[in-house]
Symmetry: C3
Subunit: 639 residues, 3 copies
């Protein structure tokens, strides 16, 4: 079984996307010289090269790529070779217009940009498989090859008739017959009963609220459809050489693809990460995505993860594309290593002088190698060389946050009780105090193994399976500490509300019965009092409990207003453990206090105690990384 080790070969990967086809050959020579100077050991090649590799249908030109791979290899630089299928050549869209994706209103997204293809199009799939096979035939045993990089940032959604057909097949596999679909989709509502399979279509533009399960199922289908494309290309390259690991790049908290399902199909995980240098908590946002990717890495076939893309300078797509200040590139790169990355790659090696991303930072900026940025690149390259002993070393966490794509999709359906109740925000609010306290977190599947954690947080599980509910029960019963956030446990995977009082299957575990959810206008401030936590402020959300049926200890209550006396925080002994329920959205400072107290009760410890605010500590294997986000000096301690 191939794994990340075959790619790293004893060195932390360092390098980035390399697009030599944008430059004349004399630049290639300079490139490899500078790569050596910077200790670059991996170049990602070919991500957007389809139109040059296959300038006309079935006419291939690999000459330049042969040169590139040989040149890199001759200079000791490994290659992540991409199937170039993220962007099909103009000829495909021109000759087969049905390969361009359609929006919900059936208007077309055409070529002239990237990633615009219909993922179900047989024409697209045939050509994508063919170019992948050609590449694999030619390079699967090339000595420079370290990994396959399938496509790029999968995420395109199309609503065309071909996708409608594929959706129906997906639904037939899921529901067997139309009765199953009618039942799951609740089509008795609003006269939506289907009498023939052919009537079933994607959630296109409609008059009012779309059927919620039609919408969620389409999101699930769209993720699976893209995954089918990934698997098709993966299988083609693996067939040619089973020793080379295969990956594609995740985008952190990206709703479009269910990364738990994808991870299982990859040999390791990788992340494209672009925190905002203007964000005072940019390092926290970065860690958030890295910890998710590390957790995804555990679900892959071979384990581990790398930073596949970050920027050495400005992030082109930001409205205010502030570059990284001196030292910040090193600091955030070391953060990734600290959090388990076995490689730090950049988009891209050399800043494009043309094209849509000419404003995106690079390891060699427009100014050229005589520049602050390239000097910092070289320093980092050298430093990473000295850190090879962390390769493969684990980051252990006492705390896990439950992350679930179906809960995300369902929570953010139209006409939920509170507009703008964002799933990722909920997770980040719970993650943030732990990061600030240097308590390392993993992310876990709702049905995943929780036994290794002292504390599990479920900031939101609006939609939840029965199995996940039982999983949480077993965890607490066995002595775990669980914190569940508001508006959880409401619906089942078919988005059916669990009746008889919320939160459905979590009622017993949490020892509560809720009658009504009670969103609040933005300008309402809830006063909450607690013997243990003192006065808290909260906002935007409360819940109406059936107090007679609520056995949990009420740790904090609402004061005043129509919700006077209603619980805001509860704790329920269950088996040998304890299950907390937070029935509101406390101010961040209050939530921080609450979660750190619970973490402390549960025995979840900081990596290092008593660090000043802004100093991050992470243990990886037997090393502790201490990252000072105040001064932007990095310290690495061994021991």
């Amino acid at each position: 079984m191939p794994s990340l080790h075959q790619a790293t070969r004893g060195r932390l990967l360092f390098g980035g996307d390399y697009n030599p086809e944008q430059w004349p050959r004399e630049v290639w020579t300079e490139d490899v010289r500078l790569m050596r100077e910077a200790n670059v050991n991996l170049a990602t090649v070919g991500v957007f090269s389809w139109a040059l590799l296959e300038p006309r249908p079935g006419e291939y030109d690999f000459g330049w790529l042969d040169e590139v791979l040989d040149l890199l290899h001759d200079n000791g630089i490994g290659v992540a070779l991409a199937t170039p299928t993220a962007s099909a050549p103009p000829w495909m869209h021109h000759r087969w217009p049905e390969t361009s994706p359609q929006d919900k209103d059936r208007t077309v997204r055409t070529y002239g940009s990237r990633n615009a293809y219909c993922p179900s199009s047989p024409v697209y799939r045939r050509f994508a498989d063919a170019i992948s096979a050609q590449l694999a035939d030619r390079y699967a045993h090339h000595p420079a090859l370290r990994m396959w990089h399938i496509g790029n940032e999968f995420g395109t959604v199309c609503y065309c008739d071909s996708c409608a057909g594929a959706f129906r097949q997906w639904l037939q596999a899921k529901y067997t017959d139309l009765d199953g679909l009618n039942e799951a989709w609740g089509t008795s509502f609003w006269s939506q009963h289907y009498s023939e399979w052919d009537e079933v279509i994607p959630p296109r533009k409609v008059q009012y609220i779309i059927n919620p399960v039609q919408e969620i199922d389409y999101q699930r289908f769209a993720s699976d459809l893209l995954l089918d494309g990934f698997k098709a290309e993966r299988d083609i390259v693996v067939e040619r050489n089973p020793e080379i690991p295969v990956v594609t790049n995740f985008m952190g908290f990206f709703k479009g693809t269910d990364a738990w399902r994808w991870a299982r199909e990859e040999d390791f995980a990788s992340l494209d990460s672009y925190p905002d240098p203007n964000d005072p908590l940019g390092a926290c946002a970065g860690a958030f995505a890295q910890d998710l990717t590390r957790s995804l890495g555990r679900e892959t076939r071979g384990g581990g993860w790398i930073m596949m893309e970050q920027s050495a300078g400005a992030v082109g797509f930001r409205p205010v594309a502030t570059p990284k200040a001196p030292g910040l590139f090193r600091l955030w790169s070391m953060q990734a290593v600290a959090r388990g990355a076995d490689g730090v790659l950049q988009f891209q090696w050399r800043a494009s002088k043309q094209g849509a991303e000419r404003t995106h930072g690079a390891m060699i900026p427009h100014a050229g190698p005589d520049s602050r940025v390239f000097r910092e690149v070289c320093e980092l390259g050298k430093e990473l060389e000295s850190l090879g002993d962390v390769l493969g070393a684990e980051v252990e966490a006492d705390v896990a946050i439950v992350m679930d794509w179906d809960a995300w999709r369902a929570l953010e359906l139209e006409h939920q009780p509170l507009e703008g109740f964002s799933y990722a925000d909920r997770l980040y609010e719970y993650y943030r105090p732990l990061w600030q306290a240097n308590i390392t977190c993993d992310f876990v599947r709702a049905e995943g193994d929780l036994s290794r954690y002292r504390l599990v947080l479920a900031p939101n599980l609006y939609q939840i399976t029965d199995a996940a509910g039982r999983n949480l029960e077993r965890y607490v019963e066995a002595g775990g500490t669980l914190v569940v956030g508001p508006f959880s446990g409401v619906t089942d995977p078919d988005e059916r509300v669990r009746l008889g009082g919320y939160p459905g299957s979590l009622r017993e575990l949490l020892g509560i019965r809720i009658e009504e959810y009670w969103p609040l206008a933005d300008d309402v401030e809830l006063r909450v009092t607690s013997a243990r936590f003192g006065a808290l402020r909260a906002h935007r959300w409360a819940e109406w409990f059936d107090l007679d049926a609520t056995g949990a200890e009420i740790v904090a209550r609402i004061e005043g207003g129509p919700l006077q006396g209603q619980p805001a925080v509860l704790a329920n002994r269950y088996g040998s453990g304890i299950a907390w329920y937070v029935a509101t959205l406390p101010e961040q400072a209050a939530l921080d206090r609450l979660l750190l107290a619970v973490a402390s009760d549960a025995g979840a410890e900081p990596v290092l105690p008593d660090l000043p605010e802004g100093v991050e500590a992470v243990r990886r294997g037997d090393q502790v990384f201490v990252l000072d986000h105040r001064t932007r000096e990095v310290e690495v301690r061994h021991g």
Copy 2:
């Protein structure tokens, strides 16, 4: 002639939309038991049942509906039976795609939601009439049947070619020949002259401002086209049993359908009303729509009105769907009864566990009958039983507000002098002080009988017919008091500006001549002084008068700026009455003072004097309802 009395049969109607097709039969049994417990006497059935009643074109399945009607009848519960035509089954859109509506840009709104049909489609109409006939054949004499409920919340607008054809027919009927249309539409402007009828199309997506009469005529046509659909179904059911009253549900201040024209075709009026519990003036907003509906009821064939839909809990479509706090459901229900409703129905009986409206409140919430909400429902049901003596009793008002759909449509055309000058806002600003002072208001048509009122307010009549102008003149001449708001009397029904000085045909009545309208930037504050009203603040709007041609008494003038000395409020003796003109937008407090002074002059009295702020009093028949919106306790006085 059938009337609301045939539906009420001596009891205030209580109940709501009942969708048993969403539930297994064991739930039906519980439903009727709980309905009896709650004193429910009416269930609205079948609104969205088309796809189940006709699962394939021409294949009907009424078995389940037979059961439902019999079960309800056996339990003493009456039925409002709907023609299920608001939402056509998927098979219709799938087999006849032209039955789906098109937007202005010709993209399609397809199925998967509700109310998406092309109202002019012959296929849609044929199937809609057929299912209506089938239902009427089967149930027109069912003993449970109390009323027919045609469609639901009519409002869909389509811009397809079929609608273009229907529009041309409507225009031919209106203008006879193309010369008439060219003249009315002012097509000499911007090279829009039509040389053949076939050239005339709906106001689809264009480059810049649309022809204003094309736009208004399309809005008129769209309302009439939907009304044709209503009438077709009504005639079908009436033909089967002329004794059953027929209604559809109005939506208060909904611009899409001219309810004055619709009311004439119904046997009584009904309202779907969803004020925001977060709005401190939610009760005022509720009363505003109720008073309109009561006034519409007077125009119906049989008179009277009912609350057709409100929520017992949260309102699903609100961005912050806060439930009704304890007592509020009772309070707002009693308000409707006080303002003339002969029934209080809810959407819906049992909260859906699936589908797009699963988050909308219900008489039985997700928590089930063991809940605060259902207990309040039962209490209200019992209380309403005791109030049967108000049935049919009138609410009398001394004051009327002129409400005109054409003025609304025209005022809100593109490129009016002040963007965001909202018709409904203008009416509400004039309504609000009267509601707060417990002076009951009706709404009237601009050409309607005004003789019964001591005071008539016309907050805006931007577009006005000659007949309406004469109607207002006659009213004042005979001793009435009239208050006209700014930017009134400007255009005729073909949106032609009346020349020679504004406000066209109201110049003589108001004793003024205006040369220019003078909208003001948001941050400009007008200082207005008045011997009678003291200093007032106003904003956003002023007018430049020809003072030589203005004979009215200038009651308030602008101080300072280029508008120094211009009138802000004027009063004109005309015949035995007096006509006020307010030429600006006073701050709400100033407008309140002004209108209450004029009301007092005119002899319009509060129902009860000297009530504290927040306490509402309404006289219905010989009873006075006193509603305390501060404490949310309801008091009902007889006497």
Copy 3:
């Protein structure tokens, strides 16, 4: 060669758009009487008359226009006769739907408004040429004819297949072969390589960022395509009578058409100008567009300019359409004369009583001639009669601002480093202090003759040709003073970044080397200190310099933060002149101070010194106009 003199014939033009086809004949009689009363000497006729002149394809009706022209001529009023091609009749769009333009998403903008035609449509062009020829055949020698007015406010962009074909022809002319296009468009990026010309399409709706050169080239093409239409009609009318000057109306800082390219094809320039009366700096905004138009006039065949459209009252398209206060119409009209206009025309003569622009002000408002507005019109008409001696007199300026449409297009592409970095804002910020100081400014092409100016400002030249770079060098070398704003000199005309350090070809002239652009979040305030200018505040933008390679004098530096010590303002002696570089966006007050100091150094003098704030002075020929924007009194001094 025809020129503006043939139109003015010794009198400042005064009048406006005249649309008699909207009125019955009795109004025409009143019109000419009132025109004489107001000293009107020019009426623009026929701009939107196509549908009446050609009510059916090929059927013409010129009878009414004959009457109008004769009537005007009989009353001594000249005519600007329009080719009515801005708005095609409904029959064209109805019979040939391909003449309606398509948006980026391929949805159609249909008729019912104005200016909606596909500029590349052969059908449209054939009919447009035919009506132009008919008009010219009939009226080219009419004694009333003073000028031809081709179309109106050219600006429509279409993305249909016909335009795609025309675009490819334009590209073939530009790039010769597909290799040239592939190279210029940088199609090696994102797999965009074209293998056949037919694959090349307009920048329609895409998934993500569009290819930047595809976008810019389409903007260039769209301007040229419209210009082709202008030229076709111009040539048709010139062929009939070469003595009549030809013009179309510019819209000031309108991005859609490159007015430098258009000016060369016209006999003089003209402006449609609608500053906001609510803007305290409305007069500055007006002067800004007037100075541009005067500068464009210099590029025309005959020279000179007129105000083609302004409003005597409210501006219909403004969200808050506040009319001009008493005196403001005169004041702003005199400003145009002072800044070189040989005529002051209004849209329109008589306010429409119907149609989309019925709310737009006019010389005769809805109130009629008995009105403040018409009285002011008459006073202005009389005053202009007395000012004939300024005709043709020049306005001389010591300062010029570089204005470049390609820089504008490129600067505002997607994903530039700072969203909302607006080209026109940059120019206005540099223009404003000079206007306030009464230092007259011209605008110049980047490659235009700069030798007459003491000071040249280039607020932004993000994209710049090599020739322009050399032009600026020559100017400074010869002793000129140049100020260049931030983010200049970055790309070449194919939007290729100039490598090796910004600002590309301006590095030597400015004596700097920049490594990175450094946009800043809105809430960041840069502290900048300068021995010469004291403490300045700046925001949103900074730049990272290679200080070793920066030879210019650093006049101001950033204090604090990661940019500590970085230059903010630099000055570089170059040849006999000096080149300033402003590397940030100073607060307006700081920028004012800076630019006025540099202007003073350069010897650029106010027209009159020491005028109070709000008093404008302009010298035209041997007269000085002093305009008091505080009291709105106009003084005109001769001498």
